[in-house]
Amino acid sequence: MNRAVPLPGPFEHFYLEEYPRVVKLAYALSGSRMAAEDIAQEAFLRAYRDWERVGSYAHQAAWVRRVAANLATSGLRRRLVEARALARLAARREPALDPLAAENADFWRAVRALPSRQAQAVALYYLEDLSIQQTARVLDCAEGTVRAHLAKARRTLARRLQLDAEEEP
């Protein structure tokens, strides 16, 4: 790549740093290789549009994750999948993400079947390896709420996947 694309403030540096992680989060929560990049881009586009405010604070990473997580678990996801699939068909482009093995795909499918806040908490906790405090910051809720979401999610997942939920977060 030999491009030099000026962007306002440190947005570009932030984008390059965070984009892969936000795509992965979107992949886990949407289950769609096609929609994940679109969701991440939507989140970054929103950050860009509000960059005078978002970029002035030190919490861009939490902010963009919150947006992406909400998009991935909302009705917009379905519309994005449809729009994106059409676009990819037209462009004959393959998504950059690889499909998951059946066992791992089953796990994330079970996560996505959870209530959305529980699913978001699980993805942030396990995929992003965030602490309870950091997860609470992304979800904009109390740490106790995150603990409750995780506890319920773990019980449900263990039951559905027939796993031992012995380790408590």
Partner: protein, 372 residues
């Protein structure tokens, strides 16, 4: 098998699935995909945003001629020189016989190639440059220029000899996660003070200029550290607490102890001048003048634009803004006495040697303004 083990395996699988992910291509896609949305109510809104993004991403340098500098009523003066300094000038500092410009912010191909350039104010020409990470920050003190390098591979502070323009020491700054924010710098109370930011917390460190060694002082909140300054014998940090409430922190440099936070109206950059501490209010688009010992508000000056960078010099406070407006505030009267507008972003401005020096991102230049 435990749930935790299964979850971690599934998380690693997601990680492994993204080896072909290309953030730079994603940047292009961000523009291209938005243009393909079907026309509808939502599409119109997205298209509007896309147009903004397109202009910012490719139009400014690639599709349009360089934007011209305008001088609205109340202009600071006239442009007497446009000095090329490379992509993304982000910081301007007038000190030690030169004008120092840090560039390299907001570029893809030069993401790891920031520079600190030395400009001779007599000739308006560059007389040397050293490499730095992207979006370096600058401060002067102890006979040196200090540049905080926010390099993705690791944050460091470069100590530059102002006479030779060469780096005399590179001081590593340890942080616990990849940095996403430029570090902030301030000099005073016998030390160079550094805020190293990462995704979840910020760390305050101090460098001993005698040994060039950095030592941690304290971890501060994720949203704390938008500004740092040394005034009234204290180190001041500006930002927000974990509930996003604006506040100021005071550090006693003798003990490294942080006093109870002070509520604040502002949340952004800090500067010292005219015997006061000055704080930018990003959300309020206002500048606050504060007592440097108590933090008590002495005056507030509405700007109408987001203040990004503050510096004091020649009896004024100079405010750079992502909106492209540079504002001059008289330190004696707390009033706006001049403005200057560039077409793109003006992330920094400073005064010295009878001129005002403005970082102009659109033209990748340092503008020299002769006050009128």
């Amino acid at each position: 098998m435990t749930l935790d083990a299964r979850a971690r395996a599934a998380a690693q699988a997601i990680d492994r699935s993204a080896t072909r992910l290309d953030p730079v291509a994603g940047l292009d896609d961000l523009v291209r995909r938005r243009r393909r949305r079907p026309v509808g109510k939502a599409a119109i809104a997205v298209a509007t945003a896309t147009m903004v993004a397109v202009v910012a991403l490719v139009g400014i340098r690639g599709l349009q001629p360089p934007a011209t500098v305008t001088q609205p009523p109340g202009s600071l003066g006239r442009v007497t020189a446009t000095i090329p300094v490379g992509f993304g000038p982000a910081e301007v500092l007038v000190s030690e016989g030169a004008v120092w410009v840090a560039a390299g912010q907001g570029t893809v191909s030069r993401a790891d190639q920031g520079t600190v350039a030395r400009i001779d104010p007599a000739t308006g020409t560059e007389t040397g440059a050293v490499g730095a990470g992207p979006a370096p920050r600058l401060a002067a003190g102890f006979g040196s220029i200090w540049a905080a390098n926010n390099d993705p591979s690791g944050i460091s502070v470069s100590r530059i000899d102002p006479g030779t323009g060469q780096v005399t020491a590179t001081i590593p700054i340890s942080v616990t996660a990849p940095a996403v924010k430029p570090t902030q710098l301030a000099v005073g109370a016998g030390s160079v003070w550094v805020i190293a930011s990462n995704t979840t917390a910020n760390q305050l460190l101090r460098i001993d200029p005698a040994t060039n060694q950095a030592a941690p002082v304290s971890t501060v909140g994720e949203f704390m550290g938008s500004g740092i300054a040394v005034a009234g014998g204290l180190v001041w940090l500006s930002g927000r607490d974990d509930q996003l409430v604006s506040q100021l922190l005071r550090v006693n440099p003798a003990t490294n102890r942080i006093a109870n936070p002070l509520p604040a109206d502002g949340d952004g950059a800090l500067a010292v001048g005219g015997g006061s501490l000055w704080q930018a209010g990003v959300a309020t688009q206002t500048i606050y003048r504060l007592d440097p010992k108590s933090g008590r508000k002495l005056a507030e000056i509405p700007l109408g634009v987001v203040p990004q960078h503050l510096s004091a010099g020649d009896g004024s406070l100079w405010v750079g803004s992502p909106s492209g407006r540079v504002t001059r505030i008289d330190l004696a009267t707390n009033t706006v006495t001049g403005t200057f507008q560039v077409a793109g972003s003006a992330p920094a401005a400073a005064a010295g040697y009878g001129s005002v020096w403005i970082a102009d991102t659109t033209n990748a230049a340092l503008l020299r303004i002769q006050p009128g």
